[in-house]
Symmetry: C2
Subunit: 565 residues, 2 copies
């Protein structure tokens, strides 16, 4: 204790910043640690905002308190962690030569210059707004800050708003909150599909679900202007000229990393607009670390730089920084697997790794995909549907990505595959995975294992798949093919596609082969409810010489287009 205590300054008090500060404290009781936070609150559980807005809980303090119920205010940081937290204080500039940060206490205007030995930049990101007229109207909100959450919650509680739009398909959770408040909601998505991390067929299924559960969706049409009277929002005008009346617009078109401070200080900024860091989360100045939404990360799959503004990663990065502040070079953040999840009414949408579209965009062209529908647990236990798409490298069999949607337990399957991807496992490894099986939790062959089995069948050439979108194209263009539904008559009565299909139940197929096309090279497309029986029937037909039999992957469950019934 004869040496001077290490002086650490952390700019940013949301996720990565406080985590870095707390970890540094645990490793050095005597360091002088200061957090500079522009907002009034600290360590906000920002991913919880939609659930506070939606009324899952009413006590706003739950967003900013510890599990033991203590609000994480400057007093808490002082008492529990001996960390000085300067709130409502903006960092204005960094002098890397003098090793100082100049900051301003916003309420008083007081300006101070603090010196550091090690600095952490965790300045986060800012919600983007579309560059259109009317964006400053009263009623145009985001859901990025706790102040945004307060404002939206007040709107929901007041029950004055009748119509709202959500601009951008990236924060679809908010639809549920608005729906619960009795607000008619329309999602406006400029691109062709909501949830761009999903491949189109799965995205369409989610859109269908959302439309039948409380929110309309308009795709391929952006907001041209926010319309208003007396400074208040009254509607939006779309790119195609349509006007929608609404008193509330929640903008969710993405975020932009806050790098102005870092850039002014001359730190390297990456090509994607985030602060450049190495595996130690060190910036181009070795005494300055950065983490959270303001940095660029490395993809563990493609090796490319990516932006990954997620709260869990911010915490992981903060922990790595905290260790390196005290023991330089002792910890590494290797990169991200691209994992995410969101809840939309009673549907869950999750993903890990690359979608087929992302894989191709990353130059991984020799890929195979498979779409599988099935229950999460047995029907007799109340099983719910899961629809998944898995992506693998055709040569190595390595799992590259997994998307999973549905009312079933998506979260477990995504976590499982995220770990498989982290371990660079192949489809062969997954096909014999030893997972926890009991009827309350899984089928005997868990959904992720079935996905691997179907993928293996495709990779080995034992099954030819065809996607629902390709089948739809065939049907729409009048392509010559024989479409076979192999379900039972009651299933066919209850629900059917009406795309010119012939019904031959699986159990009758061998006796009714004469009803199949005599030309054994003609394309035959087979499906059932989820295309397990469809696959078995394809094998039967191949056994009798048909040479061009394709299984419509995911079956009726994965069909996102209108049905006859």
């Amino acid at each position: 204790m004869s040496s001077q205590p290490l002086k650490i300054i952390v700019i940013g008090g949301s996720a990565a910043g406080p985590k870095a500060a707390a970890k540094a404290r645990r490793l050095d009781e005597h360091a002088a640690i200061t957090i500079i936070q522009k907002e009034a609150d600290l360590s906000m559980a920002s991913c919880g905002y939609p659930y506070y807005v939606g009324g899952t809980f009413d006590d706003r303090n739950l967003l900013i308190c510890t599990p033991a119920g203590i609000v994480r205010d400057p007093t808490f940081f002082d008492k529990a962690k001996r960390i000085e937290a300067l709130v409502q204080t903006e960092a204005l500039s960094i002098d890397r030569v003098a090793k100082t940060v100049t900051c301003k206490h916003l309420p008083s205007g007081e300006i101070r210059t603090l010196s550091y030995d090690k600095l952490v930049i965790a300045t986060g990101a800012t919600a983007l707004y579309p560059p259109v007229p009317g964006v400053n109207l009263d009623g145009v909100l985001s859901l990025h800050s706790l102040a945004d959450a307060d404002a939206l919650r007040a709107v929901c509680d007041a029950k004055h708003v009748r119509n709202a739009v959500v601009v951008g398909g990236g924060l679809i959770e908010v639809c549920e909150a608005l729906h619960l408040a009795g607000i008619q909601t329309t999602v406006i998505e400029k691109t062709a599909a909501i949830l761009p991390f999903l491949d189109p067929e799965l995205s369409k299924l989610v859109a269908n679900y959302v439309r039948t559960h409380g929110a309309d969706i308009i795709k391929g049409n952006g907001v041209a202007a926010f319309l208003g009277e007396d400074g208040k929002l009254t509607g939006v005008k779309l790119d195609n000229g349509t006007e929608l009346p609404c008193e509330l617009a929640v903008v969710a078109v993405g975020v932009k990393p806050n790098v102005a401070l870092a850039a002014s200080a001359g730190l390297a900024i990456g090509g994607l607009g985030g602060i450049e860091v190495n595996e130690a989360m060190q910036t181009s100045d070795p005494d300055i670390y950065a983490g959270g939404d303001c940095v660029e990360c490395t993809s563990l799959i493609s090796g490319a730089k990516v932006r990954a503004p997620y709260g869990d990663l911010a915490n992981l990065q903060g922990r790595v920084i905290g260790q390196n502040l005290i023991h330089a070079g002792s910890a590494k953040f290797p990169g991200v697997t691209h994992t995410g999840i969101c809840k939309i009414f009673d549907y869950t949408v999750g993903f890990t790794g690359l979608s087929a579209g992302q894989a191709r965009a990353a130059g991984l062209t020799d890929i195979e995909t498979v779409t599988v529908a099935g229950l999460d647990i047995p029907g007799f236990m109340g099983g719910k549907l899961l629809i998944s798409k898995m992506v693998a490298d055709r040569k190595t069999g390595r799992v590259l990505g997994f998307q999973c949607i549905g009312p079933g337990d998506v979260s477990k399957r995504v976590a499982t595959i995220a770990m498989a991807i982290r371990g660079q496992l192949t489809i062969g490894d997954l096909a014999n995975a030893d997972l926890p099986y009991a009827p309350p939790y899984s089928l005997a062959l868990d959904h992720v294992i079935v996905c691997a089995h179907v993928m293996e069948n495709k990779l080995l050439g034992r099954m030819q798949g065809i996607s629902v979108s390709e089948v739809k194209q065939r049907v729409d263009s009048g392509t010559d093919c024989f479409i076979l539904d192999t379900r039972t008559p009651p299933e066919f009565e209850a629900r059917r596609l009406g795309i010119g299909e012939t019904l031959i139940p699986q159990g009758a197929l061998r006796a009714r082969l004469t009803e199949l096309p005599p030309d054994k090279d003609r394309e035959v497309i087979v499906y059932c409810a989820i295309s397990l029986r469809g696959y078995e029937c394809a094998a039967i037909l191949e056994g009798y010489g048909w040479r061009n039999v394709k299984v419509m992957e995911g079956g009726v469950a994965a069909w996102p287009y209108p049905r006859e019934r």
Copy 2:
């Protein structure tokens, strides 16, 4: 089709057998495939029996039908899969030279000899009964066959039974079924702990939970005799002489692989009593495969032979066999990770890999363990408790095992770590895992990541842990140590251990250091609700010179012994 169709015989119609048969059929439409099944039913969902007995569902057919609702009887196997299923037919002998199986139709007594090119043995296992008097009394049941399930369901429906015992702690799910039927139930476990795949502290926590939710547990005391009158069970006598009145005894002391047929045919039987197979699931006769509960598997962790009689593995093995029947050597079952799970009332108990006890028994002595308690999702979303113990190799950091119990979502965490173990991931890999995070599904740092963080802290010497059992020993033996509870006064008022602890809330610790032992070498044991604050406080004390500070892992949540309050 000019060549003779391949003749395949499968002995056993429960899980591995039908799966092998179905997979072979998909790969060869023209093979002649016959299943020989001693029981009347086929493809029974045997893991569902406790839930049928407990009334989760009432339609018994759900245990033997396809997801589309078709009962898997011989007609179904014939029509859908063109597989001949001979039920109520017992395989009597195998002639490996003539390549024939002789079998007997039990109702008619008719004996047939069938010839095979390839044979599959999937004869399963039989429930063990303790070798004590009275085991044949009416009222002594198992829950291994569908007939057992029918009998137990009838007992529950009749509501005549008032007292039951469950002999053996291995099938604790049945307690819930009996409790729901209003039956007073006592579990009798011969060894010191129920659920032998758990280490003792976690097992004790589960026992505490079961005791407060409807079933008594007697440990370290076996059944010496079943007592009866007029052939009916009236009670059990324990090893220590105690007699318990009961009209029902459910025996769950394990299973024994059915290898008599294989052994008579001269196939190699392993040291653990199961049929020996290689990675292709081939027995010592290359034309005979075996899978399911009757075989021995390889542990992917220790490399040792193990028995793993689980339904999911039987299905995986059956699929491998089916492929090798048609394309010899084309598929491999590499081995097991030792993963399992069960539901006990609203508690889940899961494990993957080795417990500390199993690791030491397997000769892996240089291990580190960590016990962690925490919520599965945020408190504001209704988070529930998880208590886990992780085991890692100290030198390589490789994850060796994970046990997880509690009312929270155990299944997801066990699946995640099962996959991490499969990928041979280290604690370092897990510490930065990119898992699906959103408040309905996880904390920002998921429970499994927190386990890895605490383990990392221990491996790096940043935290000294002490188990609840070691603390209890210290207390019971009057060992000199200073015990520090770092929670808030309201938490201390609500619930406390009463083991001589001093309360100093975390936020007050630095100001009250004079209350700590002046001898800086004295052992200080610190804890809180889950020992996160406890860990931070240990770091504080170390920062001020205390040299022997230990964190009681899992905190109050993991304390399985009586508390003062």
